[in-house]
Symmetry: C2
Subunit: 247 residues, 2 copies
Amino acid sequence: MRNFKMTIAYDGTRYFGWEHQPGNDMTIQGKLEAVLSQMTGAPVTVIGAGRTDAGVHARAMTANVLLDTDLSELQIQQYLNRYLPDDISVNEVRQCADRFHARFKAIGKTYRYTLWYAESGEKPVFERKYTWVLREKPDVDRMREAAEHLVGEHDFKSFCGNSHMKKSTVRVVDNIQIVESGNTIRLYFHGSGFLQNMVRILTGTLLEAGYGRLTPEDMDRILEARDRKQAGPTAPPQGLCLMKVDY
Amino acid sequence: MRNFKMTIAYDGTRYFGWEHQPGNDMTIQGKLEAVLSQMTGAPVTVIGAGRTDAGVHARAMTANVLLDTDLSELQIQQYLNRYLPDDISVNEVRQCADRFHARFKAIGKTYRYTLWYAESGEKPVFERKYTWVLREKPDVDRMREAAEHLVGEHDFKSFCGNSHMKKSTVRVVDNIQIVESGNTIRLYFHGSGFLQNMVRILTGTLLEAGYGRLTPEDMDRILEARDRKQAGPTAPPQGLCLMKVDY
């Protein structure tokens, strides 16, 4: 068996997220496994760097897979791209060390959340499936101020969408950058790892600060509360994109 | 009545083209007229700079419309964007001189056709609805050489999709630029005006040259023939986008 590292881009609109689900063939992992099983004639397990929620996109999800095949990296990539639907693309296939594990070896991830606001009601026609269109203009400087309170090592339990989470909810978010350009506001989150829905809840909470309904200092209170109800709403999935996984 | 100039972006995927058709509510012109009629309480005719085919996109179609309204430019724009579907956006509304006519006053248009090729089968996941994915790599320099033969004032009858065209098929194409970037090849066409399907037939014919099935010199022969059958195939609509109209 040879171990292969893959980099995958996908438009998550039609999918129930990354993770395969029994009896549901509309997951990214499931689609990859089905094509690789067909290629090798044996069951295959694809290990992703993490899970993305239903409707969330990726420009560079990383995964690894053990395959019993004589095909070259390029041949595997061509096979995958030929049989995968056109909203999933395998942008790299590289044979890697046997010990490489896409989830355990990941040391950092970058997510991007894309917002849009225009007073004129102008819409991002070609980016509409990758953007959250706002009805009200947030104060971006205030969002940046609030974001500073969230950077660092914290217990992010208030920002976790899984209320049954038993493992540690402590994570390190070492950078939140907010970039405004024309009608677009992009939030970049970099950290060691993220809890379920965490980036979307962070975005929803930062927007509450941007709308003046929370103060930047409220972020400290919300972190301390360790209570999902204290944070803001979960931003919708289509604005979120996994940009990069670090090893 | 006040005359308004509008700039409109649309994703043409779901539409039967720009021009309204009786009994078919899925045209761009039809959607605009319906919302403006609702706004003013009277029938409205929107005059576009030209027609785009079914499935073709626009980043900046220009149109004008006579409206009996006291609303401001911004109010009209906001009303349109609120009631138009999210794949049509009105990016500008400006009151203009009564004599302004979006079609008669247009002196030039820029169209862009987007091609994609990757040996690895990599796909343009987020741009797939605005791109023609090729299975074979064309020789771009050869396409550029062929394009030089098409630039100028010519009878483009061989490149006209309407076989019943009775008016003149002479047009001026003053520039064809072909830009390669990564896996993307973009063709920019600028001219005084274009016949039905003309940019798509030009693209399909330039690709035949890129594949070596036609020579750059064949372009002269095809122009002279004034026969649609001599030119290459019509490239599919989704790669085409109207970028700009000059006045």
